[in-house]
Amino acid sequence: MKITKWFCLLLVMALITAAAAGCSKGSKGKDTASPGAQADGLKSEGAGGKGKGRFLENEIALPDRAGRILAFGKLLDGTLAAVAEDKGDKSYYVLKSSDQGKGWKEVPVQGIKGQRISYAAVSPDGDAALIHYAKGCRADISIVGAKGKAETVTLRLPDKVEENQVRQAAYDKKGNLFAMDMEGAVLKADWKEGAFKEVFDTEGLQINYFGIAGDVMLAVHDKGIRLFDTEKGNTLDSEALLDDLIKEDKGLASNDMDFGAPMLFAEGTDSGGIVLVNKNGIFHYNRGGSVIEQLADASLLSLGGGNIVFQNLAVLDKDNIFIVVNDSGEFKLFQYSYDSKAASAPDKEITVYALDESSLLRKAVTLFQKEHPDIYVKLEFGLTGDDSVTLEDALSVLSTNILAGKGPDVLILDGMPAESYIEKGILADISDVIDEVDQKEGVLPGIKEGSRKDGKIYAFPARFLLSVIEGDKDTVKSGESLEGMAKRITQLKKGSNGGVIPQDKGTMTLLRDLYYADSASWMTEGNSIDEKALTDYLSCAKQIYDVDANSKEQDYLNKTGDGTVDGIKAGTLNETDLIEGSSKMAFGTLPDFWSLQNMISSWQLTNADYGLLNREVHSYIPYLSAGVTESGNKETAKEFVKLLLGKKTGDSITNGFPVNKTAFRLQCEEAVDSRLVKDDSSIMFSNEDGKDFSFNTVNLTKGQVGQFTAFAESLKKPAMDNRSILNIVLEQGDKYLLGEQNLGDTVDAILKKVNLYLAENS
């Protein structure tokens, strides 16, 4: 009897433990086509048998003067053809190669000198259609023959809107020309009637872009892909698997860029076969089939790089696929050749984990794969935005994996509780990696020192953002402290009937901007939040918000979450209101050299100046903070971190300023003699009243570069980047700014919650 009682007691205890311990969550699976099975004709990974066989990448050299590639395709005789723009004089060439890109024959296009070509297409018999930029509802098309002579024809476009233009063009295999207009209508050229005509029934669907695979048109819309017969114009049976691609990743349907697309299509080598390429890899699908088969994994190729925009795809034969991409403004042609002897997958693997999608991280992975073809880098993002996974969910899954010994090797700690991970011994000391990069290429000294903890470095940012203030000299000077800035804004409001601060500074964006500028000085030595610092921050935020509280547009941050949009860390500095005259100043996070150049270029209209916001603190916003886990493959992981911090990854002019000094210096040099200026880049926009504003991008002066370098070198402390704390501050601060809660209660609520959070980990 006694044994039974004790047994029952044990059961109760176990039940309580189970209830208290919470539930672990399984890691998220991902639906992909299965590599390994062999498609008709085209080879897939592992089709060589015994884990052998895969498509290997080879970059094809294009003629030196070839800049933008407007069109690319395979001709009926197997020749590869492209339409290229000359880098220098902006003339155009038709390039042809009958030896898979080893040599190119250049045929200059005659008769269109000085004219701007928007889009182009190559027909199967070798003619090229060059579509000019034209006003009104028409398309001026130059048909270029084998000798390069252009004959221009004008086709009418549907006139549903005042200004209609072509925004994409392609030929089918029978030589019919198709285009899409500004309204998303897919059109077929009717040469006899001199018009582009709507021959496909899209049933009111907004088509974002299209692709052609032989005689099948694939029109991509928000909910799937609609197939049409290009010759007859009739709608073909829907393909559920293709629709699923869009349903699973809405990003594949969006096409907000001028050129290229997130997914390309081409005819396969077998009947009914379609080859498609997207950021996940190269795939093959047979119409009516039951599987989309992966031919090549993008993460093992350059295609996985975050800044890749797909331009053209051509399937030469079962072993050779050609893809043209735009890689950060540079056009590249890749050949993918099947090698039956290559291992189907690398032997070693490391996992890189980040909360948010990052194009720069993708680029680093691609570079790493190129340098280490024997190592597969698995890139995982905790918050994809495509599901309802919260920050807590993502961190719980990560914790489960780490505890189960399946944790990542490299952690990108942006927004994560890095302090807690360091304290628990999860992160390894990476001082040796930082020292090595510092010796070879240099790193910004303030950021290096700011990353030290007890003499060691556990996490180090590859990039950083800055909080800046822009306006007249007095306004910039006032930005030395938040108090000064708030006073200046109040003063400016007194002498003005219009707005003072930018309209997009809703409660959340404003709180976040000021948080990044100020939070570096909040933590006390007792590991709690300084009450006075928090009170001052909130008071300033309220004072600034109230100045123009009634004229706020929908909050920018509410729409963009944490500030990372499509893998790009976007800044919040927006000078358009300052240019328009609807604000007296601008402030926010300056994300990169590209934005710096735009800001300085806009001074042609505003005569403004800028400076660091809250300069007393000398803080920066760390981005891509990398750490290596103790339990992972440390040496390989450190190699990856080294590459992430290196100048190769750091050469991007967007997505944060590089911490790497060499990369920083190179970007400074680029800003003084900018590619954007050479390309006559300009910025144009209209305000609500229809008034146009425009300015040309200008080179930075050496003085401006020197000033910015001095700012970067003065940085000392990272802003608090723990998203749990940030969310608490934003949640409560929002109520205060909107007048739903008084200052004392807000400070009290934040302190209680944050200190509770900190106490849990003490």
Partner: protein, 287 residues
């Protein structure tokens, strides 16, 4: 082989499948939790009682333990008293008893997510309750971010579990033979005497089960608190499960294991004491 041994063996065989499940999913993991409570979170080095010391001196744990204890001490007597009262009323109500029983059980059938939605509609700053207060020219409150949050949590727990306890009490009450009440009535016992000398002693066995179940159910209220207010709610509704949940996210498995063992020890002590007092009560009744 005797008949009794055969019966015992058959009994064990019937119990075996579920026992195996309990062993695999609860008992063995619990032993592992005990083991981990003496180890460091990462690396697995021996930590002695260090984790227990950390937990017991942790401000967050102490706040959560205090809140949980306060919640149990307030809710348990309130729920048991109210449900017993309603069950007693229903005991004499034969005609509509079934309808009332179903009505009281309805909250149990409502998923936590729906309850949370109701909370938000009711207790939000712009919610119905504040709307009502404005109608009567009273100032609204932020119910979930002030001390009132605790009251909301208590209300939710009582509302959800009341019907269940009423049904359990009723089953006990209806098991008492009518003849006993009739005999007491003949002997001149009033309603109060009948309750204390007939009803209460006869529902003692079922009362033990109800107390234990209500106690265990009080831990489930975390779901609603978490869904409405997240990981860091108003501090009066910051419960032990919040700490455990957050420790898990932050990889503090060492503290989590030690905390769980401490919690189990307290629960075990409570159950043992209750059992002992019940046993003693039974002996007194038999004497």
């Amino acid at each position: 082989m005797t008949g009794r041994t055969k019966r015992n063996r058959a009994g064990w065989l019937f119990v075996l499948p579920s026992l195996t499940g309990v062993m695999v999913f609860y008992l063995i993991p619990f032993v592992d939790v005990c083991r981990r409570s003496f180890l460091q979170a990462v690396g697995g080095g021996f930590a002695g009682f260090g984790n227990y010391y950390q937990v017991l001196t942790n401000k967050a744990f102490r706040l959560a333990a205090g809140n949980t204890l306060r919640f149990v001490l307030i809710c348990l007597p309130l729920l048991l008293g109210m449900s017993l009262g309603i069950a007693l009323l229903l005991q004499g109500q034969k005609k509509y008893r079934e309808i009332f029983k179903s009505a009281y059980l309805a909250p149990l059938a409502i998923p936590a997510a729906s309850v949370v939605l109701l909370w938000q509609v009711l207790f939000d700053n712009q919610g119905l309750l504040n709307g009502l207060m404005h109608f009567f020219h009273k100032t609204g409150r932020d119910w979930m971010n002030e001390g009132t949050a605790f009251g909301v949590l208590v209300f939710s727990y009582i509302w959800k579990n009341l019907g269940y306890d009423v049904v359990l009490w009723l089953s006990g009450l209806l098991g008492i033979q009518e003849s006993i009440y009739e005999a007491a009535k003949v002997d001149g016992a009033g309603a109060v005497k009948t309750f204390f000398y007939i009803t209460l002693p006869n529902i003692r066995p079922v009362a033990f089960t109800i107390v234990i179940l209500s106690f265990l159910n009080s831990f489930k209220v975390f779901r609603e608190a978490y869904l409405v207010a997240g990981n860091y709610p108003q501090e009066s509704i910051y419960l032990l499960q919040h700490v455990f949940n957050n420790w898990f996210s932050e990889l503090s498995m060492d503290k989590m294991a030690a905390g769980s063992v401490l919690l189990c020890s307290v629960v075990a002590a409570f159950v043992l004491l209750l059992q002992r007092s019940w046993d003693r009560g039974d002996e007194d009744c038999n004497d």
